[in-house]
Assembly symmetry: C2
Homo-oligomer: 277 residues x 2
């Protein structure tokens, strides 16, 4: 999404060019190396519309036995780093009463945080993907436990309430267990609503092709998130096996790919007619 972010003016060109990967390779130098550093401005050209076809990367279409997802937007996402810290000490020589162990606080915190995913059942999501005690020795009471929280919802107001609950639970458990804590917001990607006419073109194409379908909000980020700021945008989802993506087991059938491509073609043709005066 770096390229689409630069195109849509979300990222300054110098920022993008200066990005490095873990081995220190610079974005601009690698563009030159592969022959992709062109002379055209990164500023957005005028586009009549932008349609993106993608696998769902989730299990909903497969679970419901549907062929196409008509994507009406992308949910918002907020990332947090959370740390609970106490006093590191010897597991064999420190009585329970003299410990400041972050683990019980984390246990109580995690139980409440998971419930944030049910605040708006079916639409709110809450995930703890990183969880690690430090220093990480089996006979040492941890100094700290660090974890990540990923909150998602299609509505920014609901995300505000989910974040407020997260902050509240952190303070509550730190106080109850006499443990230090810190919660830092690392990233905020607001919800995106796609262009009504572009989405209508996708809906019309799906009906014309007699494909089973549902409307849905994308859970993952896509180039469409950035491009939606500068051009009428919509997306088309096809099911993928087990909802698996970014993984060697990612898989779709050629039939699923063909259905997606047919919807993309039909939507473009219909949208072109809608837009032509």
């Amino acid at each position: 999404m770096t390229g689409s972010g630069a195109f849509a003016g979300r990222f300054a060109l110098d920022y993008v060019y200066g990005l490095t990967d873990r081995s220190g390779k610079r974005f601009d130098e690698e563009l030159v190396r592969i022959g992709y550093k062109g002379s055209a401005l990164a500023a957005p050209q005028r586009f009549a519309g932008y349609f993106e076809l993608h696998i769902e990367q989730g299990p909903v279409l497969e679970t419901e036995g549907l062929e196409i997802g008509v994507v009406t937007g992308v949910q918002g996402m907020r990332w947090f780093d959370v740390e609970f810290s106490g006093d590191c000490c010897h597991a064999g020589t420190t009585p329970m009463a003299l410990r400041r162990d972050p683990v019980p606080a984390v246990a109580a915190f995690l139980a409440e945080v998971n419930a944030i995913g049910d605040m708006d059942r079916g639409r709110s999501l809450c995930t703890v993907g990183l969880l690690e005690a430090a220093p990480g020795s089996r006979n040492t009471v941890p100094q700290s436990v660090r974890l990540s929280v990923d909150l998602r919802h299609p509505d920014d107001g609901m995300l505000d309430r989910m974040e407020a609950r997260l902050v509240e639970v952190g303070a509550e458990m730190a106080g109850r267990f006499n443990i230090d804590h810190a919660i830092a917001r690392r990233w905020n990607s607001p919800p995106v609503t796609f262009d009504a006419r572009a989405v209508a073109a996708v809906s019309g194409a799906v009906r014309k092709l007699c494909l089973s379908h549902r409307e849905m909000v994308s859970g993952a980020g896509h180039d469409a998130v950035h491009v939606a700021a500068v051009a009428p945008t919509a997306m088309i989802f096809v099911p993928c096996q087990g909802g698996i993506s970014h993984n060697p087991r990612e898989s779709i059938t050629s039939g699923q790919a063909a259905s997606g491509a047919n919807v993309l073609l039909q939507a473009l043709l219909d949208y072109d007619e809608m837009e032509t005066p």
Copy 2:
């Protein structure tokens, strides 16, 4: 404790000689290199007694303002590897209801496991030192969470009850959250009770020297654990700053060292008189 374990017959000599460190250095080759590979048998000689002076490695003596710990034995210790596993999936695209996330099960498990440390308040200990979610990505529901549990108590029967509770809680939470789990016992070091006459010699020495003291059970392992199997054994603890050990901040005063050394000397002299016919 490898040397004392070989001496006491707990480890076979070939096993000890063949041990390697992380860089591949062999135990026997390093003994030769530093000039410590002697010709005397590793089998235990007959000893009248064994007295070991050590820092407490815990905060009890310092917290209670006492000068000497009269160590009556070493608590038992059992180590467990615990894993809860579900289905790895995308944090943004997988509805809460379609997840098998191990984190909520771990949260409920940790809350109950910590309470095992209070089953015999003041004597039972329970520590989760390792805790890590895998694969460890902030926008991925973890496939699994692995953690360690360290249980300690001076009485083997109580350790049996603590272990039974651990196993029970693991099965309960795996069932409640529909998550797979495994609990494996990695190590079992039974409690050791020191020789009554050797401990009495230490007690007598402390009283003769008018030092403030208490009886206590060692929380950490020591050479005395192995030697106690082949000779009358006792230990003497002195306080250490903040209970910190195996750390550059480990610290005791020269006064504390002198008190410990005086108790060791007096105990040896008294024990020698007790044992001489």
